[in-house]
């Protein structure tokens, strides 16, 4: 396939089609609406299911139904809509059926705005819906990566009978970049031994439910989910490393914040500053081990995010106070400029850091001075 100019949202839509998307259910919300619009034309022309639902609640429960029927199914939304879907996510996880959900994040809380944000990290990575479960969460930083991770999300969801979320900020959804689409996969429905697709004269009935009325049975489910999650943590961590070989300190950033940080790292390298970048691709499972490996040989970390330091807590959990962790974030739909992060790199390179400084407090003080 040649490289073509693709808009992020439309690229995700086409990539899902080529990955064998059998059914799509969605609801319009900026900045992800192009996915719904694209699939409203593309799915019917391929004879596949498309429904514009009455709400995000409707959409996620249609996803739930189709997932129980055993087909490749996806919904997409943006922050406020994803909040509405949290009920369905919890049920889907409790029922152990695979589904893909894309969140093109925008500024919040509440209606917030429609500008790029990473404020839903905690919702995606640390819960959102009720009950004890984990989502696999992938975080692309470019249109090409959005394509590749969308394709991968279906395989991961089915491999582990779980939800795989793709979270990207609105800028990746809205920007156009050259990217290569995968070949169209042949449509072939899996014959899952758990799907409620009708007995069809061949087998005993199947029930799919998230009810375990006996607490001991519910605990067994919790243990099963946890055991599966430990396998995912062991086998599915993905991240990208940049300039880490001789790095004296390391930036950790995902999605667009990681991409902007890479530009800053390149500029800093040109100035002779030995800084590297670790960009998690799976923010869940989080690359704890990769950070553990770095702790012994770097003097500190700088976490950059488009939120108030949500992934920061996971980095601190990995670092365990052994080396200083600094933070730089922009919020509310503000995307940091390369210069801002370069300025942070230069500040860190020229100052003595302490493990006793609270990174968020220190960042807020610097923000107050800047304003």
């Amino acid at each position: 396939m040649p490289r073509e100019l693709w808009k992020g949202n439309e690229a995700i839509a086409e990539a899902s089609v080529r990955a064998g998307l059998d059914a799509y259910f969605g609801y319009p919300i900026t900045p992800q609406t192009e996915i719904l619009e694209y699939l409203s034309k593309r799915m019917p022309e391929l004879g596949r299911a498309f429904v514009q639902a009455e709400s995000e609640l409707g959409a996620i429960n249609m996803v739930y139904g189709a997932a129980c029927a055993g087909v490749r199914v996806m919904s997409t939304s943006s922050s406020p809509g994803v909040s509405l879907m949290m009920e369905g996510l919890s049920y889907i996880q409790g029922t152990e059926v695979p589904a893909v959900l894309v969140n093109v994040m925008r500024g919040g809380p509440g209606l917030g705005n429609i500008a790029p944000s990473q404020a839903d990290y905690n919702q995606a990575v640390h819960g959102g819906g009720h009950g004890d479960y984990h989502n696999i969460v992938l975080a692309p930083a470019s249109v090409q990566e959005a394509i590749d991770l969308t394709v991968m999300s279906f395989d991961l969801a089915e491999k582990y009978r779980t939800i795989c979320m793709v979270i990207l900020d609105g800028s990746v959804g809205q920007m156009m970049e050259p990217a290569k689409m995968p070949e169209m996969r042949p449509m072939q429905r899996a014959n899952w031994d758990w799907a409620t697709d009708g007995r069809m004269g061949k087998r005993p009935r199947r029930i799919l439910s998230s009810i375990y009325l006996d607490p001991i049975e519910e605990e067994k489910l919790n243990l099963r989910l946890l055991s599966r999650w430990k396998t995912i943590q062991r086998d599915e961590v993905r991240y990208k490393e940049y300039f880490l070989d001789d790095a004296e300190f390391v930036i950790v950033g995902f999605g667009t914040a990681g991409r902007v940080a890479l530009s800053a790292v390149r500029q800093a390298r040109a100035k002779g500053i030995k800084v590297g970048l670790l960009r998690p691709i799976t923010v869940s499972p989080f690359p704890f081990e990769a950070i553990e490996q770095l702790v012994g040989r770097v003097s500190g970390f700088l976490v950059t995010e488009m939120n108030s330091g949500q992934m920061l807590e996971d980095v601190r959990l990995a670092v365990k106070g052994r080396v200083p962790v600094e933070f730089y974030g922009r919020m509310g739909g503000v995307v940091p400029f390369t210069e801002e992060i370069l300025h942070e790199i230069e500040r860190i390179a020229s100052s003595k850091l302490s493990v006793d400084v609270d990174p968020r407090e220190a960042w807020l003080e610097r923000m107050a001075q800047a304003v």
Partner: protein
Amino acid sequence: MVATNANNLVYERPEGFTDTPTHYCPGCTHGVAHRLIAEVLEEMDLIDRTIGVAPVGCSVFAYNYFDTDFVEAPHGRAPAMATGIKRVLPDRIVFTYQGDGDLASIGMGEIVHAAARGENLTVIFINNANYGMTGGQMAPTTLPGMKTTSSPNGRDVETQGFPIRMAEMLSTLDGVGYCVRRSLHDPKNIRLAKKAIRTAFETQARGLGFSMVELLSTCPTNWGMTPVDSLKFVEQHMVPAFPLGDYKVAAGVAQIKI
């Protein structure tokens, strides 16, 4: 003792049922409604290609009793789940079984839009005028003046609103092929209810759009009545408030001969 054989057998478990005692209270009409569905599925030879969608409410465990595939929906979302299933498996028979709290309150959005889209589903709607499973709170269908655990002085329409007539409401939507209300309070009405359930599944089997049968039902436990008095209550108080009848029978459905 006379041995049971094919000649003297007058009542048996339909094939559509599993061999499982139900959890329903004595005198509750859920068992009757379940049986009618199982009989219809058996008569239409649909058991092995039917997928049921259970609600949240007393019938949350409906999936234990039917010998069909079943899924269990979040509260009120059964029509959305059923939509997801039916859209990817259009040759299967998909039905939801929902109570009044599930369908007419928390699931109002899902039911109205499934009907408006003309989803080729069958909905069996149990109207017993209260939330049974949680202990008899006021439902959207609770009659004016009716005492419940959350309307202890009787439903005051000034502050608690009026009952919702779902069959009438949904019948205004063009996507609906068949929408009727029946009652389970006596044998004659039970027979009429079964015929309606059969027509609803025939509607779906022929692709004639959304079908719903609303069934006026009893809740002796939460109403604080004997089963017999509950049946009388349905006849004397619920039927006048929720008139029985055919609210929408599309032209194609009217031609179905049962």
